[in-house]
Symmetry: C2
Subunit: 330 residues, 2 copies
C-alpha cells in the first residue's frame, strides 16, 4: 500500500487494541473433496489460530506494535490453543473474556490439495459476548495508552460501547469493513480510517464504480481521514482526505478518470509493490454534487510466482495489520 | 436377530471388555452441503461420543452388562467429553490410556438436513496406541471376571496381545468384522463369534453368495461357534455350528437353497423382528468340498415407518451390543 521507504521504524512500540472475532482453524487435509454421505479420512490435521481480529493483531505484533485483544472464548481446547498462540506472538490476551462453559468459535477447513480448494465451515462461539462481559474498569485499562482501536465489526453491541469510549478519549478508530453488517454504520460514523473489501464500497453506497464509491464514503463519513479498498492481486485503492487550504485554486478532476490515469503509470517491469499517488485534487464523482479534496493512491501488489505462493488465507488481515502499523505514524 | 422370548434377563450383570476405536462426533448441521472453496456457517453444532467400540459398549451397558473399555484418547476437550459420556452410561473407563499430548480421534460430520446426507471426515487420534501403553498388570485387571471380549479390529498390535490373553483365560472373543484390515486374520483365528458387515463375508472368502461365504468362514475358523452377517433393513443371516452327534443321519442341504427356503417363511404382516431357523443340517456350498453341521437363521428387522426413523448411525454397533448381551447367556 505504501512504498517501503515510507515505513519507518516507530520510535517506541505503540499500543493498539483489537476488538472482534478470533477463532481456531481446524485444517483438515483430505485426499479429495468429500461427496455427500461418504466417509473419508484426513491425511493431515493441524489446529491453528485464526479469525480476522486474531490474524490482524498477530501481524501487528510481528511488525513491532503492542496489540491487546478484547474478545471472548471458552475454556475449551480450541480456546486455550488460541490464547497460547496469541501470547507466543506477543499479543496481550489479558482482556479476553473466558467462559467456563460453551464452545469457542472455530472453522473446520477442508483442504483439498488436489483441486486446491479450501472450504470453510464456521461455528460461532457460545455463549455470545454481551456488553456485561466487559466491565468499565477493564475497558478503561484496555484502552489505556492505546493509539488506535481496530474493529472487524463483529459483536456490534460491545463494539459500539468500546468505540464510543475510544472516540471520547481521542483514540483513532480503524474499521475493517468486509460486508454490510448489523451495527456497522454506527461504528463507521466514529471511524478515522476504514479498510474495505473489494465489494464493500459499492454495496454500501450503490455507486457505479469503486472510485465513485470512495468519494461517496468520504462525504458520508465526515470524520474519516482515509478509505482503502483491497483488490487482492490487483493491489488496492486509497482515497485520503486533504485539507482544502488553497480554496478554489485546486484543480478539479473526475475520480474515475483520475484512477485510470494512475493505472497507466503502473510499471509492469517491477515485481515489488508500488504506490502511485495523484496530486491533491478536488475529486468529483458522477451523480454526486459535492466534491472531495483529497489524494487518490493506486497501490500495486507484489508479483509472486505461483511456485512461491503457499496460501492467501489471512492475507487481507495481514494487510490491515500493516495499515494499523502505518496509522500509528500519523 | 433372535425372537424376544429368547432374550431372558441375565442372572447377574456380566462383565465384558471392549477393545478398539472410540471417538467423538462433531455434528455440524449446515443449511446445504458446502461447495468447494465456499465459506458457510453451521446452524447447529453438537459434540457426541462415538466410534464402534464406544457405541457398542454403550449399548451393552444400557442392556445391563458391565462393560469396560480399553482404548486411548488424549487429554483434550473431545477426550474428556468421551470419558464423561461413557462413565455416565455406566461404562468403566478406568482402563483407558490418556495421553497428555496429542489429539483424540474425532469425526467431523456434515449433517445436511435438506438432502438428508451425513458426510463423515475422520481424523485418527495421535499418538497411536502401542502395546507398551497397556501394562500386563492392567490387562489382567481389565480381563478379570470378563465373560466376553469384543474387538472392532482396530489397533491390531494391541488387539492381538489382548486376544491371546483372553484366549489363554478361556474368555470368549467376539469380532466385529467390518472390512478386511491388517491383523484381522490373526484375531479371527482366536474368535468364538463374529459379526460381519454385509460385504465382508464375500470379500474375505471370495465365495459367490453370502450363505456360501458363511460356510467357508465356519470351515476356515474352526474355533468359531457362529457367524452373523448384518443386512441393514433386510435383517441378518446367522450360521451356528452344531455338534454332529447323530453322524450321517443328519440331512444334507445346499446352503443357498436352505436360505431361500427360510426367506419364503417370512411373514410380511408382522412389523416386529422375527427369527426363522432351519433344522440342524449338513450345509453344503457349491465349490466347497467339506460340509458344515449347523443351523442357519434368517433374522428379519423391525419395520419402522419413515416418520419414526430418526437416524441409523450406530445401528450396526447397537446390534453388536445386543449380540454381546446374548453371548453372555451362552
Amino acid at each position: 500500500m505504501m512504498s517501503s521507504e515510507s515505513v519507518l521504524p516507530l520510535p517506541e512500540n505503540p499500543i493498539i487494541v483489537g476488538f472482534g472475532g478470533v477463532g481456531v482453524d481446524f485444517l483438515a487435509v483430505v485426499p479429495s473433496f468429500p461427496k455427500p454421505d461418504s466417509k473419508i479420512r484426513t491425511t493431515e490435521f493441524t489446529v491453528q489460530g485464526g479469525g480476522n481480529n486474531g490474524n490482524t493483531m498477530t501481524c501487528a505484533a510481528r511488525l513491532g506494535l503492542k496489540p491487546r485483544i478484547i474478545s471472548k472464548v471458552s475454556n475449551d481446547g480450541p480456546g486455550k490453543t488460541m490464547l497460547e498462540e496469541l501470547e507466543a506472538e506477543g499479543v496481550d490476551t489479558s482482556f479476553f473474556v473466558v467462559s467456563k462453559e460453551g464452545t469457542s468459535p472455530f472453522s473446520y477447513i477442508i483442504v483439498d490439495n488436489q483441486s486446491k480448494t479450501r472450504t470453510c465451515i464456521f461455528t460461532p462461539g457460545y455463549p455470545e459476548m454481551v456488553p456485561q462481559d466487559l466491565s468499565r474498569a477493564n475497558l478503561l485499562s484496555a484502552l489505556d495508552g492505546a493509539r488506535v482501536v481496530y474493529f472487524d465489526a463483529r459483536m456490534p453491541d460491545n463494539a459500539l460501547v468500546i468505540a464510543q469510549e475510544a472516540f471520547h478519549q481521542n483514540i483513532s478508530i480503524l474499521i475493517d469493513a468486509e460486508r454490510p453488517r448489523e451495527g456497522l454504520n454506527d461504528l463507521l460514523s466514529l471511524a478515522d480510517y476504514v479498510v474495505c473489501s473489494e465489494k464493500f464500497p459499492q454495496a454500501w453506497t450503490e455507486a457505479s464504480s469503486i472510485p465513485r464509491a470512495l468519494v461517496s464514503i468520504i462525504l458520508r463519513l465526515p470524520r474519516l481521514k482515509f478509505a482503502i479498498v483491497t483488490l487482492g492481486k490487483d493491489g488496492c485503492i486509497m482515497l485520503e482526505k486533504c485539507v482544502d487550504d488553497e480554496g478554489s485554486h485546486i484543480e478539479e478532476m473526475d475520480v474515475d478518470s483520475c484512477f485510470v490515469s494512475l493505472t497507466t503509470r503502473k510499471e509492469d517491469s517491477t515485481a515489488m509493490p508500488t504506490c502511485i499517488p495523484s496530486p491533491v485534487t478536488k475529486l468529483r464523482a458522477e451523480g454526486i454534487e459535492e466534491s472531495v479534496c483529497g489524494r487518490l493512491y493506486y497501490g500495486t501488489s507484489e508479483k509472486i510466482p505461483p511456485s512461491e505462493l503457499v496460501d492467501t488465507t489471512g492475507a487481507g488481515d495481514a494487510f490491515v495489520g500493516a495499515v494499523l502499523y502505518c496509522s500509528c505514524q500519523l
